[in-house]
């Protein structure tokens, strides 16, 4: 499966945040999208998912235009996302959150045995009472353990302990091995370096760098762009 964005424009209430982003992600690869805060990364996730309307440009899923599809229709076509904030239904329980993502009660133990293991047997706990890290891990599990072909992850490691970052990285890697594509929006440059097949750098709502991970100059250019 392949998702193409061409000259994507979008924004909030008439204030544009994306100024013509073009990019592509397909099954079996991990693309790391990096950029400083406020360059439009979260806007891009919402636009790709259909939570924000496209004001100009086009979105194609396997060459089929999906620009006006509802988010749920994109999900059913094989696209998924995890969000930087409020990635879970806070008022609902862990079990209910899993159920809403397609894991019936009898399948939930199997998910939680893989990760996040700390939530095993805590299906009746309200998601809003979990720690920030637990919430992040559960939201990631909800997306990675589905059979989605393409998964967009917005800052999945933010606030995670290093050990959990490693665990999450393994699961993302496994997803690629299983033939699925991941668009990884990450500040955690080490994880991106470990996993990415390609890099995309975004600045002011535009793509300013796009290179394969084996491009010898990419690391220098990213460091320069991110000023780190």
């Amino acid at each position: 499966m392949r998702l193409n964005a061409t000259n994507l424009h979008a924004g909030y209430g008439g204030v544009p945040a994306l100024h013509g982003i073009s990019m592509e992600i397909q099954s079996g690869e991990i693309v790391a999208l990096v950029g400083r805060n406020g360059v439009g990364k979260t806007t891009l996730v919402k636009t790709l998912m259909g939570l924000l309307p496209v004001t100009d440009g086009e979105l194609l899923l396997d060459d089929q235009p999906i620009t006006n599809w509802a988010p749920s229709k994109r999900v059913r076509a094989g696209l998924r996302a995890t969000f930087q904030e409020k990635g879970l239904f806070q008022e609902l329980t862990v079990g209910e959150n899993l159920r809403l993502n397609g894991f019936e009660p009898n399948a939930q133990d199997a998910v939680l045995e893989q990760f996040p293991k700390s939530l095993s047997g805590r299906q009746s706990q309200r998601a809003g009472t979990l720690s920030g890290g637990e919430q992040k891990m559960l939201a990631a599990a909800c997306a990675l353990k589905t059979d989605a072909s393409l998964i967009i992850m917005d800052e999945p490691t933010e606030g995670l302990q290093p050990s959990n970052v490693e665990v999450l990285g393994d699961h993302i890697d496994n997803a690629r091995s299983a033939g699925r594509g991941v668009l990884l929006i990450e500040q955690h440059i080490a994880l991106a370096n470990r996993l990415a097949d390609r890099f995309i750098v975004v600045e002011k709502g535009r793509v300013v760098e796009a290179s394969p991970a084996d491009d010898p100059t990419i690391q220098t250019r990213i460091k320069k762009r991110l000023a780190i």
């Binding site: 998912m49 259909g50 939570l51 509802a70 988010p71 749920s72 229709k73 999900v75 059913r76 998924r80 996302a81 969000f83 409020k86 990635g87 879970l88 239904f89 806070q90 008022e91 609902l92 209910e96 159920r99 809403l100 993502n101 397609g102 909800c142």
Partner: protein, 284 residues
């Protein structure tokens, strides 16, 4: 003692009626944030369905499923045609449903004239309850209305569909991103709310005048219940109906019916003031 017993049953009757009339409003307003001023006209359509069923020589009780089906489709259609595009604009939903209520009343007058229609009591007579003689139909109404309210509440709290609706209430965007077709769930919820109103109309029809104005009498009561019960939880409909029924029956008994209405209104205003101080998220 006997007088108290009768007032208790009267209060229960009012509680059951208010509960089932307000149920649909609780779903549509409490869960979906839509102020449906045509809710009373959904009750009216239910009452006319009861009339048509009885007039056609069929058993009165068939009107309950018939009205539920008819109103489910009416409610779904209203959601798709009228409400869908204006969820984010409460003032528009008020105007749209207000207009709808006028259209539905006019339609009723065209179809059934301005004259009141009679729905006969399907179970005339009285029954002894612990030595108190009470109209049988009212007893049945109490039981049937309570069962239906509980069933609908269970549907919304315990079923997969209910979980979906709660997810939408909690976070519509995340629900969509989890693959839930929120537009379909909205149609279903609105349809179920309307169906509940229709069943309420069937149940009250043998007690009142079935005419185009009937909805206007029930709408304020339904709003009272939803306000007093608070709509952060659907169970609030039950609590609200209980409080309003107790106040109305009590004040009517000890003072009079006019003060009973004033008391209920004051109660609603107090509840509004009390809850305005807090800003809570809406859940079931």
């Amino acid at each position: 003692m006997e007088a108290l017993g009768i007032e208790l049953l009267n209060g229960l009757g009012l509680f059951a009626t208010l509960g089932i009339v307000a149920l649909g409003l609780g779903i549509v307003f409490g869960l979906m944030g839509v102020i449906n001023l045509a809710h009373g006209e959904f009750v009216m359509i239910g009452a006319y369905v009861a009339y048509l069923v009885q007039d056609g020589g069929l058993n009165y009780w068939l009107a309950i499923p018939a009205a539920a089906v008819v109103l489910f489709f009416v409610g779904s259609a209203v959601e798709m045609v009228l409400i869908r595009r204006i969820y984010q604009k409460p003032e528009l939903t008020i105007l749209a449903t207000f207009g709808l209520s006028i259209v539905l009343r006019q339609l009723a007058e065209i179809l059934f004239s301005k004259n009141s229609r009679k729905v006969s009591n399907p179970i005339p007579g009285a029954t002894d309850v612990f030595g108190i003689t009470f109209p049988t139909y009212r007893l049945v109404l109490i039981v049937v209305a309570t069962l239906i309210v509980v069933a609908v509440l269970l549907l919304f709290t315990k079923s997969r569909f209910g979980l979906t609706v709660r997810a939408i209430v909690a976070n519509r965007g995340l629900a969509e991103s989890s693959g839930i077709r929120t537009s379909v769930a909205n149609i279903l919820a609105f349809g179920i709310g309307a169906a509940a109103a229709g069943v309420a109309g069937v149940l009250v029809a043998p007690l009142v005048s079935v005419d185009s104005q009937i909805g206007l009498s029930y709408l304020p009561g339904a709003f009272l219940v939803v306000i007093v019960g608070g709509f952060t939880r659907l169970w609030g409909v039950v609590i609200g109906a209980a409080i309003v029924a107790a106040v109305q029956t009590g004040v009517t008994h000890y003072v009079d019916a006019v003060w009973a209405q004033i008391a209920a209104l004051v109660l609603a205003v107090v509840m509004l003031q009390l809850s305005r101080s807090g800003s809570r998220e809406v859940t079931i």
